[in-house]
Symmetry: C2
Subunit: 554 residues, 2 copies
């Protein structure tokens, strides 16, 4: 899309999905980007490690990009930053902890030196071309979250970032209701607000509730306590540390991201850990079991993380004993239920005492529920509204909430990634698209896996591959060796001799017939072989392996 006049707003990621949030705000020749997240693939994207936004629009308009403003330090808001910066340099603005977490990533990718990073807080004002950004404090399951206020020539735009209204936050970082009220009073032209919990009625409970229950569980545990939660939930880590202090336990950390976050958060002052509190696993092993708590990654059932390894006895540094207590202080994100359940089953088989599930009060969401979304809408009183950060059904539920508090239906835009909302002379409408999409990261490859490769992977995963090798004589036009049949993921050849023998007979008959008819174009031969074998195998096995004839001419 050619660059336009006036104000335009679009998502490069974050709508019609949970993950890879990235929003573009452009006024004539100035572009401000909010967030650049990544997302984990679902089970249909076989072999893919990570998904990042397609930033072609920014590449085409590099000279206009003024800044990347980051609302907070979660992966779905910062995970795409290294990949973005490898393509376009731009200054980054973020709060203190957020910057600390971004730095870890930039260091890993060798990008730390060349990137200009500026710390901001709720008192900052930054001029970014035609747009002026200021910020307000919100709270969420990580400290130092900011909402963004952008003053543009068309009016004031507010982007909430992720938020809840935790009025008794564990870390005393209160949501700044008065500031939000003032912003709303001055007049918000357009609001973008997050929709994660738009389907959930009521008000999300305070994080403090979790702290009470963690301490209770620590008190009752007769031996070691293993507790698993999101490493990035620094407030919860603090409550776990506090519970350990009060119940006279030392702490041991398992899992790379847990070690990383505890280090950064402690250095920056977001986590207060008494000296000598954290022990290495080998030191911790010497303690009496009742004096020890283990804080570990893997609360989503990730197969390579600490909790999964502990649950199948494959962790190198630690074993779970019968009578130990295991606390899973997180809810499984949809799609992860089976992995988490498998871990719990294994832990039961080990004789552990396990505290998990929605009845346990050991997890609260970091996202505001319906009443909180209505509260934000009421405070901001926006003229126009774009629900963001959610799958379609969440955006639609959020629309219904907005209508209920007085936003006019025709002033609400439910977008797909790439859809453009433009504002010109006070008239807002949805019009046109910019390029947006998902770039797949597989190992070191970025964007090199396309639909053909994924389609092959799907067929391979369901029915495998059958390779047929034959050698033809160029001069005599006859089969001189083969067929040799190789199966991977289709059948185990040694157990299927009869089937393979029939396959060979079909190949010989098909090839001889074609040679008799002087059909020697390879493409035709291969296609004929594929078709006849495909039909035969489906009728005999109801499976459709990839059939790959290899013809050697000598």
């Amino acid at each position: 899309m050619q660059s336009k006049e006036g104000l335009i707003i679009a998502a490069l990621g974050g709508v019609n999905e949970i993950g890879k949030n990235m929003y573009v705000f452009q006024y004539n020749d100035d572009i401000v980007v909010i967030d650049c997240g990544s997302k984990f693939p679902d089970e249909s994207l076989l072999g893919i490690d990570l998904i990042i936004p397609d930033v072609s629009y920014l590449l085409d308009n590099q000279d206009k990009v003024r800044a990347l403003v980051v609302t907070h330090g979660h992966e779905d808001h910062i995970g795409g930053i290294p990949y973005l910066l490898k393509q376009i340099q731009m200054p980054i603005y973020a709060s203190r902890l957020t910057l600390g977490l971004i730095e870890i990533k930039l260091r890993e990718h060798g990008l730390l030196r060349e990137t200009k990073m500026t710390r901001i807080d709720a008192n900052s004002t930054i001029e970014l071309g035609a747009m002026t950004c200021s910020f307000f404090n919100t709270n969420h399951s990580i400290p130092d979250c900011l909402g963004v206020v952008m003053d543009t020539p068309e009016g004031t735009i507010v982007h909430t970032g992720d938020f809840k209204f935790d009025l008794t936050p564990a870390n005393k970082q209160y949501p700044d209701l008065h500031r939000m009220s003032d912003i709303g009073k001055k007049g918000v032209y357009l609001l973008l607000s997050e929709s994660t919990n738009a389907e959930r009625p009521g008000f999300t409970p305070s994080e403090q509730l979790v702290g009470v229950h963690i301490e209770e569980a620590f008190n009752q545990a007769k031996q070691r306590v293993f507790i698993s939660t999101f490493a990035s939930n620094v407030n919860r880590l603090q409550q776990i540390v506090d519970a350990a202090v009060r119940t006279n336990r030392k702490i041991c950390l398992l899992g790379r991201s847990m070690v990383n976050v505890v280090q950064v958060a402690t250095e920056l002052g977001y986590l207060t850990v008494p000296d000598g509190m954290i022990l290495e696993p080998n030191e911790a092993a010497k303690l009496h079991p009742e004096r020890m708590a283990v804080l570990c990654t893997g609360s989503q059932g990730e197969p390579m993380a600490a909790l999964a390894r502990l649950s199948n006895g494959s962790h190198r540094q630690m074993k779970i004993d019968a009578g130990d207590t295991v606390i899973i202080a997180a809810s499984p994100i949809p799609g992860n239920e089976r992995d988490v359940s498998r871990i719990i089953d294994n832990l039961y088989a080990m004789g552990a005492h396990i505290i998990y599930g929605s009845q346990s009060d050991l997890h609260v969401s970091g996202h505001g529920s319906q009443e909180e979304l209505k509260l934000m809408l009421t405070l901001m009183k926006p003229k126009y509204f774009i629900p963001v950060h959610g799958e379609f059904r969440m955006l639609h539920q959020h629309r219904i909430l907005a209508e209920a508090v007085g936003v006019r239906r025709e002033h609400i835009f439910i977008l797909n990634n790439g859809d453009v909302v433009e504002s010109k002379n006070g008239v807002v409408r949805q019009f046109g698209q910019i390029q947006a999409g998902q770039i797949l990261v597989d190992g070191l490859g970025i964007g090199d896996i396309g639909n053909i490769v994924l389609r092959d992977r799907r067929q391979l995963s369901a029915d495998g591959i059958l390779i047929i090798v034959i050698t033809l004589s160029k001069t005599e036009s006859k089969l001189i060796s083969g067929p040799d049949t190789i199966s991977r993921g289709f059948v185990y050849v040694r157990d299927s001799e009869e089937l393979i023998e029939e396959v060979n007979q079909i190949v010989i008959a098909t090839v001889n017939k074609m040679l008799e008819e002087h059909i020697t174009q390879w493409n035709v031969m291969k296609k004929t072989l594929k078709d006849s074998l495909g039909q035969f195998l489906y009728s005999r096995t109801k499976r459709r392996p990839i059939i790959l004839p290899i013809i050697i001419e000598v």
Copy 2:
């Protein structure tokens, strides 16, 4: 395991899992089997269609098998029957509807004629060698459910089947509390009770609740209503039919299992549908949208079922219009959440009004919650207890409930499939194993997919396959053609010319070096090629495709 003296009990399926229930009860030379279910594979079993129990133990003891008693007609209790009967003939005892549903399967597999089937009900008593079976009425999400009482020389064994205590059942099939009380009063030696909802506090709501909300939703819908639920939940189908009658709508059925179940249940009198109520899709299309309800399969998000096809516009017979109402009257079974969510997102994009989720009161479980499990345990007062029908964590929770109502902990056995509990002279203990396991069905293949094939499918699905074809001259010991490189699911060759060129160079260098060193054993050559290419590709791409060198000698 050699056959034993005394009473033995084992699960061939159904413990440490949800699905493929099958329990074996043996007294000396008499074996009674309860249920023979199937189970759907999880995402790790790539390409597998169905899982059935390993019945080797029954094959080894064919002459002793007296009967298969079936508690109710759900797939996880009857889905394995055709595969069992293909190996061993045995008479089947089941209630009327259950037999009707089993007959559909046996007809499909051409087994109907040769199978002896006997209808039983709560008044039946059947002598099966040393064991006498009688039955009691329970209720669940399908009509005609029975619990089984087995009088054995060691004492009375009770197997509950699946149950809840719905005291206001939609179909008036009440759980027979007085009968259960009498059985308990006479003395139950050993109870096997189902554990599906052992993690859920409270009492499962009555199915009638759902009926009220369905009618309400039908009343409010301005256009057509699409409603999706489990086809086997005949009671709910009846409530949907009733709601349609009362709101003056005709019904159209979409999906093979929905058509099958409605036909069988109507024929057998479990479902009452007024004449002319059910229309074919083409007739239904002529009705005013407000006069029409569509009952369809696919409430679990199954990609090939009616609801999924409707949601992506690919159903051949019907389309959803903006303003239509879609009701999903089922909860997603763990693992299906993403598929269901995707459907809801698509339906929103179509402009449908959607009623779904736990807030909607349009689904209740068919399994009793904790208070109901305690009620069953209290009624039966068993001396010994085996929690069945559940994953480990559910069995453990059920154990805790049993202890709470007075069963001694050392009298409770948490088993894995194949574990044997034996009773001799009034002493019960867990001792030894019989063969048990999962047989994978893939297309027409039963048990022919083993670990090697699955491991290949996993590697293929994640990173694909790279095939290298080279032709060597036997006489001159040199490379005469190739390497030809074929990728499926690894990289798209046309986009990766440079990488493939490097692969070819490595192959040529490796082969020439080996030929120079007179290494000509194919196995050694192949392994060397695999190793050097594997290392190179991992370092360059962080991927591990299957590498398959094919060497042709001419």
